[in-house]
C-alpha cells in the first residue's frame, strides 16, 4: 500500500511513496526530485526529462518477473562515455523491491546492498581481472564512470541527477555483479540475466 503522508516540498502536490525502500522521488507534476531521509522529503534538485527509449517498460508498468508480480515505480537513467542505460526500480507485491537494469535490450535483475566489508579501490579493477568484495569475488568485465542524468517516479537509490557514479561490472559464476561508487557510499549489486521468457509486462488495453 502506498504511504500517502507526503507532499512534494517544491510544489505541494500529494506525493505518495509507493514502496518502503524508496529514497528518492520525482514529482509527477513539477518534476522536481526530493530525497526521503528519516521520513522527511527534502527537495534536492531537478529531474532531466528523459528521452524516451524504445523499451517494453514504462513508468508504472506492471508485470511478472519469474512469476513475481511487480510494478515499475521508478527509473534511473545513467549516461556514460559511450552510451546510456536505464535501471527500473521494481516494487513487488509483497513489498520487496529490486532493480531491473535495461541495457541495449538486455535485462539484468539486481538485489542491491550497501557494502559493509572493504570495497576494493576503483582504480584496482581491470577488465578481465578478479577482485574480492568481502566474501564475494567477481571477474571484471567493464569499469567506467557514469552520471545519473534523469529520474522518473520513485527509486530506492540515494542519488540525484548530475551525481557521478564510478562502476565496476563483472560476473561471479552465472551471476552478474556490479559495484557502484557514489559519493561516500559503495553499493554492491548481485543479480542475474533475465530472459524474455521470465519477464512479462502486462499489456494495457485502453478502450
Amino acid at each position: 500500500m502506498w504511504n500517502d503522508d507526503y507532499r512534494c516540498p517544491t510544489c505541494g502536490a500529494p506525493l505518495p511513496v509507493k514502496n518502503r525502500f524508496v529514497r528518492v522521488v520525482a514529482c509527477d507534476f513539477c518534476a522536481n526530485v526530493s530525497v526521503l531521509v528519516d521520513d522527511t522529503l527534502t527537495a534536492s534538485g531537478c529531474v532531466a526529462a528523459l528521452t524516451p527509449m524504445p523499451s517494453m517498460f514504462y513508468l508504472d508498468a506492471r508485470g511478472t518477473l519469474k512469476g513475481r508480480l511487480f510494478s515499475a515505480i521508478g527509473r534511473l537513467r545513467y549516461s556514460y562515455g559511450d552510451g546510456q542505460w536505464d535501471e527500473w526500480f521494481l516494487s513487488f507485491e509483497n513489498g520487496e523491491s529490486g532493480w531491473l537494469q535495461e541495457d541495449a535490450g538486455v535485462f539484468t535483475y539486481f538485489d542491491r546492498t550497501a557494502v559493509t566489508a572493504d570495497a576494493p579501490p576503483y582504480r584496482r579493477a581491470r577488465a578481465g581481472a578478479t577482485i574480492q568484495i568481502g566474501e564475494q569475488s567477481m571477474t571484471v568485465t567493464e569499469k567506467g564512470s557514469a552520471q545519473i542524468v534523469g529520474v522518473q517516479g520513485q527509486v530506492g537509490f540515494p542519488v540525484v541527477p548530475g551525481e557521478p557514479i564510478m562502476y565496476v561490472d563483472g560476473t561471479a559464476g552465472d551471476k552478474k555483479v556490479s559495484l557502484e561508487y557514489a559519493g561516500y557510499e559503495v553499493e554492491l549489486s548481485v543479480g542475474y540475466l533475465v530472459s524474455r521468457d521470465e519477464l512479462t509486462v502486462k499489456e494495457e488495453v485502453w478502450s
Partner: protein, 505 residues
C-alpha cells in the same frame, strides 16, 4: 481507500502517463465519483481534460482539498491569465528532447532515427556530431566512402519476424602482414524493445549477424587461448585490432573516425563468437552466418532477391558455411577424384613393371666390369635399375656407377648407387645401420642390346664386391604420383574440401 478504488486510480494514472487521455478521463472520473476527496485523482483528471472548463473544475477541487497545493494554484492562475505557462516556478532544467537536431556545423536539420543515439553524421555536410554532451559538438567529418552493399541507415529489416531499423554504419579496417583488410557493420535496433544487432559483411566471409550476449566467465583477452561461452570453451581462431575508417548514420556510443578496438574471433564446433574489447570493457557476441539471399529478403530488396534467385545463387559468402556455389562443390569433387586416382597410381607404381634383367657378378674396384647384355624392347619408356651390393664390414662403403654401351658403341651414363655399413654406440647403446641397394632410372632411346658396365669404388680393404643388377621396364614413376597427390591435397585445403584443426595444448 479501498483496494478496488486504489486499483482503479492506478489504472487511470497509467493510462494518463501513456497518453490515453479519453480512457484516463473515464477511469479517473469513476474514482472521484466514488471518492470526491481524492486530491491526486482530481490533479490527474486536470491533466487529461479535454476543455478548460473541466480543467478549471478539477484544479479547483484539488486546490480546495490540498493544504498547500501550489501546483494546482499555479495552474488555475495560468487558466485565469494571471500567470503564463512560459514561466513555471517549479519547472526543472529540462534536457531538450532531441528529435530534430540542428547540425552545429552547417545548421541543417537532421531528424534522429534512434532516440538513444550518441553519435550522428549530418547528412548535409558529413560532420560527425557527438550528441552525448549537453551541447552537440562536431568531432570529425565522415570520409567520402559509402557502404559496399546497398544497405544504408534508415532502412528497415525484418529478422525472425521482428522489426529492425538500420540506424548506423561503420567501415572498419585492419593492417595485418602488410595487407589491409576492410569490412563493414550496420547497427540494427529493434523497433519494439530496443535490442541491438550488428549486421556484418566481409568480402571473404559474406554476411554474418552478431548478437550481444553476456560474458559469464572472466578471461584475459590478451593471453587466453580459449574464450568462455555459453556452449563451453571456444577456441580462439583470430585476434586483431581494427579501427573505424568510415561512419554514417547514428550510433549508440560516442564514436569517431580513427577509434580503435581489439577483437577476437573464436569457434566451438559450428558456433562462432567474437569479442571486442578495450582496457575497460569486454563485449561478447554470438555470430551467425547469413545467406545473402536471406539478407536481401530481410531488407525487402526484391530486385536483388529476384536477381539472385534467377542466377541460382543462394549461398553464403565464399568462406562461410552452408550452400556454397556450385562451382566450388564441383572443384572439390574433381580434386577428390584426382586425389583418389593419384593415390591409386602411387600404389600401382610401386608394383608395376616387368623384370627384364637380373644378373649378379663380382665387380673388382677400379676396373669397369661388363655385365651380360640387356635386350631393350621398350624404348622411350622409363626403366628402373636396382643395384644391390653384397654385405660389407662395418665402416665400409662402396659406390657403383653404371654405364650403358649401345650396339654402335655410344656410351650412356645411367646412374649409380652408394652402399654402406656403419655401426657405433650412443646413449641408447650400440647401433648398426647399412644400406646395400640403390635405384636409378633411364629411358632408352632405341630398342636393341645394351651392355651394362659397372665401375666400383670402395673404401680401403674392399678389392671386389658382389653386385646384383635388376632392370624393370614398363614402370610408373612413383615420384610424379606423389607430387600429383600433394597438389591435389593443397587444392582441397584451399577450396575447403579438407580442413585441418590444430589441437590446443
Amino acid at each position: 481507500m479501498d483496494e478496488a478504488l486504489q486499483e482503479n486510480f492506478e489504472n487511470g494514472m497509467r493510462a494518463a502517463r501513456q497518453g490515453h487521455n479519453d480512457a484516463a478521463f473515464r477511469i479517473l472520473q469513476e474514482v472521484v465519483d466514488k471518492d470526491p476527496d481524492h486530491e491526486l485523482a482530481w490533479m490527474w483528471l486536470a491533466q487529461v481534460c479535454g476543455n478548460e472548463e473541466d480543467k478549471r473544475t478539477c484544479l479547483s477541487k484539488a486546490a480546495a482539498l490540498g493544504t498547500d497545493n501550489r501546483w494546482a494554484v499555479h495552474q488555475l492562475a495560468i487558466l485565469a491569465g494571471e500567470a503564463t505557462a512560459d514561466v513555471d516556478p517549479f519547472a526543472p532544467e529540462e534536457k531538450a528532447q532531441v528529435q530534430v537536431l540542428q547540425c552545429p556545423q552547417c545548421g541543417g536539420g537532421v531528424k534522429l532515427q534512434c532516440e538513444v543515439s550518441n553519435t550522428l553524421v549530418c547528412r548535409f555536410c558529413g560532420s560527425v556530431v557527438d550528441l552525448s554532451a549537453d551541447q552537440a559538438k562536431v568531432v570529425g567529418k565522415k570520409r567520402n566512402v559509402k557502404p559496399c552493399q546497398p544497405i544504408s541507415p534508415g532502412m528497415t529489416a525484418s529478422l525472425d519476424g521482428k522489426p529492425y531499423l538500420v540506424v548506423g554504419w561503420l567501415r572498419l579496417k585492419e593492417y595485418s602482414d602488410g595487407e589491409v583488410y576492410r569490412w563493414e557493420e550496420w547497427l540494427l535496433v529493434n523497433q519494439s524493445d530496443g535490442a541491438v544487432l550488428w549486421l556484418c559483411y566481409e568480402p571473404e566471409k559474406g554476411f554474418t549477424l552478431s548478437e550481444p550476449i553476456p560474458a559469464t566467465e572472466g578471461f584475459d583477452p590478451a593471453t587466453d587461448r580459449t574464450l568462455p561461452t555459453p556452449d563451453g570453451a571456444a577456441k580462439i581462431t583470430e585476434r586483431g585490432q581494427a579501427s573505424i575508417s568510415g561512419i554514417d548514420g547514428e550510433l549508440t556510443w560516442r564514436a569517431k573516425l580513427g577509434d580503435s578496438f581489439r577483437y577476437i574471433e573464436a569457434a566451438k564446433g559450428s558456433n562462432q563468437y567474437s569479442v571486442e574489447y578495450t582496457e575497460n570493457e569486454i563485449e561478447l557476441f554470438k555470430v551467425t552466418p547469413l545467406r545473402e539471399l536471406d539478407v536481401w529478403r530481410a531488407l525487402g530488396n526484391e530486385d536483388l532477391v529476384k536477381a539472385m534467385e534467377a542466377a541460382g545463387a543462394t549461398g553464403y559468402g565464399p568462406g562461410g558455411k552452408g550452400a556454397a556455389p556450385a562451382a566450388v562443390w564441383l572443384s572439390k569433387a574433381v580434386l577428390w577424384c584426382l586425389l583418389v586416382a593419384g593415390i591409386g597410381g602411387t600404389i600401382y607404381s610401386l608394383t608395376a613393371g616387368e623384370r627384364i634383367y637380373h644378373e649378379a657378378a663380382t665387380v673388382p674396384t677400379g676396373v669397369a666390369h661388363a655385365f651380360p647384355q640387356i635386350d631393350v624392347k621398350a624404348a622411350g619408356r622409363p626403366h628402373q635399375i636396382k643395384i644391390k651390393s653384397g654385405r660389407m664390414p662395418a665402416g665400409a662403403w662402396a659406390v657403383i656407377q653404371l654405364e650403358a654401351v649401345a650396339a654402335d658403341g655410344t656410351r650412356y651414363y645411367l646412374g649409380g648407387a652408394e652402399t654402406w655399413h656403419e655401426s657405433g654406440r650412443d646413449s641408447e647403446g650400440a647401433w648398426d645401420e647399412s644400406d646395400y641397394s640403390g635405384n636409378c632410372y633411364f629411358v632408352p632411346t632405341e630398342n636393341g642390346p645394351l651392355t651394362l658396365l659397372a665401375e666400383l669404388e670402395a673404401s680401403r680393404g674392399i678389392a671386389k664386391l658382389p653386385v646384383t643388377i635388376t632392370v624393370k621396364s614398363g614402370i610408373w614413376m612413383t615420384r610424379y604420383f606423389v607430387i600429383f597427390c600433394i597438389f591435389c591435397l593443397l587444392g582441397l585445403l584451399i577450396t575447403g574440401g579438407i580442413k585441418i584443426e590444430l589441437e590446443s595444448d
